[in-house]
Symmetry: C2
Subunit: 202 residues, 2 copies
């Protein structure tokens, strides 16, 4: 597509670098910004610059935070004896939204993926082991809430191996049929796991 | 949704103001920016600020332009005797992409819409009339390429009334069945117009 202005072209190219946004959507956004007041664009770009420059991560759990220690880690109303290991900050938000969990988190920043060149050293696994290795360890249970993929399972195995000398309960989140899901359309592995992992009715 | 940081919340709110982007998509984009290098965010925000601050519009046709007069209006390879009236810059790009039109444009900046408070004074209609009223008028044909909506038709009627004293041919783009479209699913008005507006085979 030919753009009537170099400025448009540059803005479209930059926006189209974002995930899930193609050149057509980018052009629509750019034309929207031109129609709106200059102040709106400034507010948007200020918020993004501010975000990228000033964003901080909790020194304990590595979740996104406004302070040195995040609101969850510093809360006295959370159970500091349970630790939930997740891949990234999005997962923390998802679990928080369920309002079913009141322990702490540990954000790995990814999962082990040799294809993408991500090994254990790129993740916050050493820091997790250090958190658990204080003697006596304040953590009673470790919940592994990683994606049910090859990479997630590899990471879970690796963590389990690294902490095998620490006295604590290690659990994984339940795999099974999603609520509202249809048995007919579930894959065999999920359905099989849901049968093996059956729980008592009532 | 609770965000772990005020910076995230502000960025999500700003991005979610863009058309077609909700809070979930905005959050995904924000988390993507955090993962990427700071330079990427800076390039994006610079491009947007630059766009919004320095964007110019052609003094003749009101299309987006890098110069005082846009590349189309100043080209000697275009037919200056034909003028195509469109709603906005997106339409110019769309028509240019067809490579079927070699005349000039006039960008109204919208259509008459009393509900949205847009009257003829908000549009570049006076400037269109002025372009046509030079004596002798350099324009031989005026093509009205407005949306086939109530507002588009109203605008077309209004323009036609304003220029009734000017000696020139006024045409509208053909309404009919889209190429690849199915007769069965066409609405009656479109199908009716495609019959009335039939052209000779070969």
């Amino acid at each position: 597509m030919d753009y009537p202005s170099k400025l448009i072209e540059e803005a479209v190219n930059q926006i189209a670098k974002l995930p899930g946004i193609g050149k057509k959507t980018a052009l629509r956004l750019v034309l929207h910004l031109i129609k709106e007041s200059e102040q709106n664009t400034l507010s948007l770009t200020d918020a993004l610059n501010n975000l990228r420059t000033n964003i901080r991560f909790c020194a304990t759990c590595h979740n996104i935070s406004d302070a040195e220690i995040c609101a969850i880690c510093s809360s006295h109303r959370r159970d500091h004896a349970i630790l939930c290991v997740v891949e990234d900050a999005k997962d923390v938000m998802a679990i928080e939204n369920t309002a079913q969990y009141h322990g702490l988190y540990h954000v790995l920043g990814g999962v082990i993926s040799p294809i993408q060149g991500i090994g254990p050293a790129e993740l916050k696994i050493d820091s997790l082991v250090a958190r658990l290795s204080n003697n006596p360890s304040p953590v009673r249970e470790l919940i592994l809430a990683l994606s049910p993929t090859m990479e997630g399972d590899t990471t879970a195995f690796y963590i389990n191996k690294r902490i095998k000398d620490v006295q604590l309960k290690v659990s994984v989140i339940a795999r099974g049929i999603p609520v509202g899901g249809d048995l007919e359309y579930a894959d065999e592995i999920t359905l099989g796991r849901s049968i093996l992992g059956r729980t008592l009715f009532n």
